[in-house]
Structures are given as C-alpha cells and as structure tokens.
Symmetry: C2
Subunit: 226 residues, 2 copies
Amino acid sequence: MIKVIAFDGDDTLWDNEIYFREAENWFCGLLEDFLPAHSVERELLKTELHNISLYGYGIKAFMLSMIETAVRITDKKIPAEAIEKIVNYGKGLLDKPVHLIDGVENVLVSLKPKYRLVVATKGDLLDQERKLKKSGLLDYFHHIEIMSEKKESDYAKLVKHLDIKPEELMMIGNSLKSDIIPVLNLGGHAIHIPYHVTWAHEHVDVKIEDGNFRQVERISEVLNFI
Amino acid sequence: MIKVIAFDGDDTLWDNEIYFREAENWFCGLLEDFLPAHSVERELLKTELHNISLYGYGIKAFMLSMIETAVRITDKKIPAEAIEKIVNYGKGLLDKPVHLIDGVENVLVSLKPKYRLVVATKGDLLDQERKLKKSGLLDYFHHIEIMSEKKESDYAKLVKHLDIKPEELMMIGNSLKSDIIPVLNLGGHAIHIPYHVTWAHEHVDVKIEDGNFRQVERISEVLNFI
C-alpha cells in the first residue's frame, strides 16, 4: 500500500542539531562581554522565531539572525570584526563534514528495491543538496524535496506533487511536530525516531494514538514495520 | 509531444532584477564615504560570485554578501548601524510587492488546459513561494521547482523528477545562460524572452542555431510557437 517513503534529512539521516548547539555556544562566547550566555541564547531564539516567516529555515537564516541579534543586544556597539567572525563561522557551518546516523545505509539498501525513496527536508536547498551529496546516499533517493514548512498543507502539496494518495506515503523523521503529526493528520503513515537534541522550536509535548504511527529508537528498527 | 512547460519566475513571470539594481545603488550610497560607487559595485559582485557555490542564489545570499562586502571594503570600520540598515533593507526586499510582467496571465490561461505547467526557478524557496502566492498565479501551476543551479545536469534531474523525456520539456525564460542553452543541450525546447536588465553573472554572448529554439519579445508571443 505504501508507495513512497520520505526521510527527513537533518537528525534523521545525518547529525545536524548538534552543530547549531555548538554554534549557539560559540555565539554566546562572542557576546559574553555584553550579556550573560542564557540571555544571548534567549535573544537569538527570539530573533530566529521572529524571522522564520521571512527567512525560512537553514544556515543562511541562522547567520542573518545571529548578526541581527548581535547588533541589537550590544546596542549597536558590536565591532565589525565580530560581524566578520559570525559570517565566517556560518560559512564554516555550510562546509561541515556530513556524519551519517548509524544504520542509515542498511535501511536504504533494504527499502530501495521496493519503494520510491525521497528526502523531505527544510532548510537551504543548496546546503541540503550538499549534505546529500557528501553523505554518499544520493543514489538511494529518487529526489530531494525541500519544503519551506512542514505543516499539513505542505505535506498535502508534497503528496500532490508525488502523484500519490496520503495513505501511500510513509514519513520517517525525528520531529513529532514537523515529520509525524502533520503526516498522520493527513492520513499518511509515520515513524518517529527521536534524536538526542531537539531545537526549542521543534519541541512538542504530546502522546500520539494512531494506528499509522510507530516510534522506534534506532533507524534500523524501521525495517520491522515496513 | 511537449508535456511540461516550465517557466522561469524572476524576470519572466514577474519583475525581479530591477529590485536588485535598486539595492545595489542603495548599497553604493551607504558606503560612499569609503569607496566610489563603481568600486563598491565591483566588490559586491566579486563577493557574490565567490559565495554562490556556498550560498546559492536569492535574497538571503545577497544580504550576507552585502554585509561581507561592507566589512571588507571599510577595512572593518563599518558601524553596526550600517549593518542593521543592510539587514532591514534585505528584509524589505523579501517583502516587496510582486509586479507581473504584461501578458503572463493570458498565456497561462491558454496553456493550462493542455500542458502541465511548472515554475522552475533559482533563489530562496520560501521567497519564491511567497512571490508565486502574491502573484495570484499559484493555481495555474502544478508545482514550483526550486533549482540550486540551472545547468544541464540540473535540468536532467528536473526531467527525471518530472518523469518525462527531455524532448517533452519546454522551458520559457529570460536568461540564455540559465533557461535556454542547458535545456537545448539536453534535447528540450526553449523560448527566450529577453528582459531589459540582466545581472552580469547571467550575461552571455552567443548566437543560437537550434530547431528547438525560439526567441520572442513579449511573453504573449509564445502562443505562436506552442
């Protein structure tokens, strides 16, 4: 019955959130003469959330939000050297090696002969393509779907675009909010694999009761349910 | 024989490049105490071209390149106020009204019953979706394809993704380099509609002789060839 299996990229196929946590720590250090770390962190999150509707997700949006936050919380006293450091740090993020999550490749090898596999992810198109290329997983996927948001209406568009019915889609990802709940609401199937770090914006506190839903600890376990 | 007609977005369906030209003039004005306008312009283009492989296309990339250029050419003397102005100017670009190019809607009305229409464009996903929504043209298109580059290999991916053969694709756009030449090389059809402003990076000087190629002055004229 399932025709397409869509995998989230960040923190499902490869590590991602840990680099943003590292970046936040670095950014707090950069501004420690102006504000204590927990306040910098809070201000940065505030800027990011405020900018999502304009910038969307991804590293370029994160860079611009760091710059904006630095200007604001230093009351425009931030020196240009620090701005340059932020730009360079962000460029470093765009050039990180890609670290696959354990077991990913085995799962793809098993599923590829039977299903159309796609990556369905938020973020910068070029950056996600770069990660997919660097990951060595490119050949397992029919294509990569970059989504500006992962709400129910976005999955409805995805399903239309894939020319399938919602119940023919299985989504696998680490975010209940973005990968699981909207897909279940649409009538699709979803498997949740929690990651050890979750961005505050992605955190939800719910208990899901749905016959189309599974939760596993490791990606290798999805093969028990497909 | 043609199944899918793909339209470039920027400067084919709606005005775009003129806003970037305005932005460049504004940016040169911001830095006029440091460097003459033509040097600022040259330095900005240098930064942009250098960053394309990392940032891709779009307004966020442009904002980051303006910031980087401002820091570099002022020898790190740019005050934080000016950085803030750049960020705000960029946000304004992301919130511009969308001005349709004359005749676009008539063409789409005529073609929609007979072909699958898509938008195939570079730039920020969210920004291009915003423009498509604001344009009122959303319902004419099956979906929007955001491409990180528009080289022959990218069109090969597009064709695969659309499940058609190259000769079943017609591309309509304003850039010979990005919309026309790679599609013809792949064996597809292409119609060129020059726009009155072209970004230096998109400029090519060639004469095309190909049975699958047409050039028209106005988008309404494409109906003579489809």
